[in-house]
């Protein structure tokens, strides 16, 4: 495995060292705070189109994104990570919960309007094809956002061409082209340029590299790294690929069926996962070594349907440590005190929770980490 010689100082976890003139709340103020975000989609059925149930896509999700960091969000399909991205952008209006952007509440009278928030926070979608207007030259797709916010035709075009250069595409060659004339990687570069045209502080990357071929994925990841430094960006990086998340993130948030099960610094999570789900997820990574194959699947079965999630802990139906308490009581995410904190929503980590493996200190050393090591296999 060869890696380039170039190294750079590792990223600081808290605020970035560089002051940004656009800071509103000061450099210690988190860039984004989500509090108890909730979105249930009604399922209608029957002749009268009555609501017969709810998909609990995002069910009380809270987290904080510091300035200049990359927060990785991982989880399997149906865990609500894409809905979360759209809730953050207010593309879907949350049922309840607050969003605080750099100290200002979003969408409230004395806070930041949704429209202004959208200037400061942008999103890159997974499907590079459907996220570009097929009837529009790509430079127009990029400049559109600028024009929406009152820039002249000329200014918008200039900005689009400059950004095309920044994302590694020659504006003379690629600007006038239509999306179908670009490869997947090139389209994703255009999508990234479009997200950056409004000079946002935060970019939400919703599976932005997942649909790309590996060699192209690596190019785009490098590009994202470069752009993050260049534009002093904060990323929320949503992906199902654990290797990619480990590569890009400073902190990681693990979701399961609409809930946060674990959150913490990336090295902590990858080296010492607490929640049984996180452990299983990490152990499911393919080994890349033909002589060291995974012999037993770390988990059996599929994630359950989010329509009627299990009571109590939602992971209990697949968890080998599940006990009575897990069925009765919904575990809460531990108190989150600083960006270094590593917390999980699991009864095993709560002292006197009623789970046989929870000890007084709330650290089930002997109980949970030993089987975890066995589960993690090659880790």
């Amino acid at each position: 495995m060869t890696v380039t010689e170039n190294t750079r100082p590792s990223q600081t976890l808290n605020a970035v060292d560089r002051k940004d003139a656009r800071d509103r709340g000061g450099d210690r103020q988190p860039m984004l705070i989500a509090r108890e975000l909730k979105k249930h989609f009604p399922i209608t059925g029957g002749v009268l189109n009555r609501t017969i149930g709810h998909v609990r896509a995002v069910d009380g999700v809270s987290f904080t994104v510091m300035k200049g960091e990359t927060l990785g969000v991982v989880g399997e399909s149906g865990c609500g990570k894409s809905t979360l991205a759209r809730l953050l952008m207010h593309l879907i209006v949350p049922d309840s919960g607050d969003l605080i952007f750099d100290g200002d509440a979003v969408g409230e009278n004395d806070g930041l309007s949704v429209r202004d928030m959208r200037r400061l926070m942008q999103m890159v979608f997974q499907d590079s094809y459907s996220s570009l207007n097929p009837r529009m030259p790509v430079e127009d797709s990029i400049s559109y956002g600028k024009k929406v916010h009152g820039a002249s035709e000329q200014e918008a075009k200039e900005a689009a061409r400059e950004l095309l250069t920044k994302v590694g595409l020659d504006p003379n060659l690629f600007g006038p082209r239509y999306p179908h004339e670009l490869s997947g990687g090139q389209k994703q570069r255009v999508n990234i340029a479009r997200a950056l045209v409004l000079e946002p502080r935060v970019v939400i990357l919703d599976e932005a590299v997942s649909a790309l071929d590996k060699s192209v994925e690596a190019q785009v990841l490098n590009l994202l790294r470069y752009l993050k430094q260049h534009f002093n960006l904060t990323y929320v990086f949503i992906s199902h690929d654990l290797n990619v998340v480990q590569y890009v993130s400073d902190r990681v948030l693990v979701m399961y069926l609409g809930e946060v099960v674990e959150i913490g610094p990336v090295d902590e999570i990858y080296a010492r996962p607490k929640h049984p789900y996180t452990q299983a997820l990490l152990a499911s990574r393919l080994s890349m070594d033909p002589d060291d194959r995974i012999e037993e699947p770390p988990l059996v079965g599929d994630p359950p349907n989010p329509i009627n999630p299990p009571s109590g802990c939602r992971f209990r139906t697949r968890c080998k440590f599940a006990e009575k308490i897990c069925e009765i009581e919904r575990p809460v995410l531990g108190e989150w005190l600083s960006s270094e904190a590593h917390v999980t929503a699991c009864h095993m980590f709560v002292p006197r929770s009623g789970h046989s493996m929870a000890n007084e200190a709330g650290k089930p050393e002997a109980a949970a980490t030993v089987p975890a090591a066995a589960m993690a296999g090659e880790d």
Binding site: N6, G145, K166, G168, Y178, Q186, Y226
Partner: protein, 300 residues
């Protein structure tokens, strides 16, 4: 930024992919049409028919209103009457050329207005969704309950005859189907990520519709409305035939068919001429719209 290996300039160099000819969607459609000889042929026919209607005063050998009791119901090729004469001895060729003006107007104008009105309604219904969609689409569904010809006859009957009323009733008949087509196309496009991305920039609804939706739904709407032209010509002729559209002595293909019907045993060939004209015109429009449909079916 010295420690970042991939400088943008490097990346630009590697992105010098093989040069592709930049062709917009519409250029692509044009390119496809160029090799679709059948559609080209029928397109030329349509243009010919329209031109002959426009230049009827120049082309018509005689006055279409000039009747002559001696020359009633003469066969094709009688004296100067290239296509014979009608029951009042008027030159059929001249009346056909002039009649094309009214028939084509009755065919095209209602569809045009219906495309604008129905299309806008459908786009709004499809984009806004929810309650607005329900109100618009359920109203449209009411019109669907009636067969189009019955609806046209009923509306014309209620409003009285005449060209304007005839066109108005036809417009009303075509709004529901066009609205439906526009709604379907729009709701498909609305769910694509690029529309979400446009919303995420903070753009207003009208701007999104104008910039992002319209270009993507125009194709299917135009194909559908071009196929409606032939239906409209037929319906207009039907209305005139029933005495609800054009009133005599105005030359109109449908009306001519009605009046000549009485002479069907005397001179059947002449009687058939307006019918044949209606048939050919509507087939031409239909085939052109079919050609357009397949040309626009470009999966880019």
């Amino acid at each position: 930024m010295a420690n970042i290996t991939m400088s943008p300039a490097d990346a630009a160099a590697v992105q010098g992919a093989p040069s592709v000819r930049v062709r917009s969607y519409w250029q692509n459609v044009g390119y496809r049409l160029r090799y679709d000889y059948l559609t080209l042929f029928f397109g030329a026919m349509v243009i010919l028919i329209i031109l002959s209607a426009i230049f009827a005063p120049l082309l018509a050998p005689m006055d279409p209103y000039q009747s002559s009791l001696i020359n009633r119901l003469k066969p094709i090729g009688y004296k100067d009457f290239l296509l014979g004469t009608d029951e009042l001895g008027r030159d059929i060729l001249s009346r056909m050329l002039y009649g094309g003006r009214i028939s084509l107007t009755m065919g095209i104008v209602p569809v045009l207005i219906a495309t604008i009105v129905g299309g806008s309604l459908g786009i709004v219904a499809g984009f806004v969704g929810g309650r607005t969609n329900m109100i618009i689409m359920r109203t449209v569904d009411v019109f669907y309950a009636f067969p189009s010809i019955l609806l046209a006859v009923a509306i014309s009957g209620a409003m009285g005859g005449g060209i304007v009323n005839g066109m108005l009733s036809l417009t009303l008949v075509f709004i529901p189907p066009l609205c439906r087509v526009a709604e379907t196309a729009t709701s498909q496009v609305r769910n694509l990520d690029f529309v979400e991305a446009a919303r995420a920039t903070g753009a207003r609804t009208l701007s999104i519709i104008r910039v992002h939706i319209l270009g993507n739904v125009l194709g299917p709407i135009l194909v559908y409305s071009s196929s409606m032209v032939s239906v409209s010509i037929l319906l207009a002729s039907g209305l005139s035939f029933l005495g609800l559209g054009v009133t005599p002595p105005e030359p109109d293909w449908g009306l001519m068919l009605n009046t000549l019907r009485q002479a069907i045993y005397i001179n059947p060939v002449v009687c058939a001429i307006p019918g044949v004209a209606i048939l050919i015109t509507s087939i031409c429009f239909n085939l052109v719209s079919d050609g357009l449909r397949s040309a626009m079916d470009v999966r880019l």
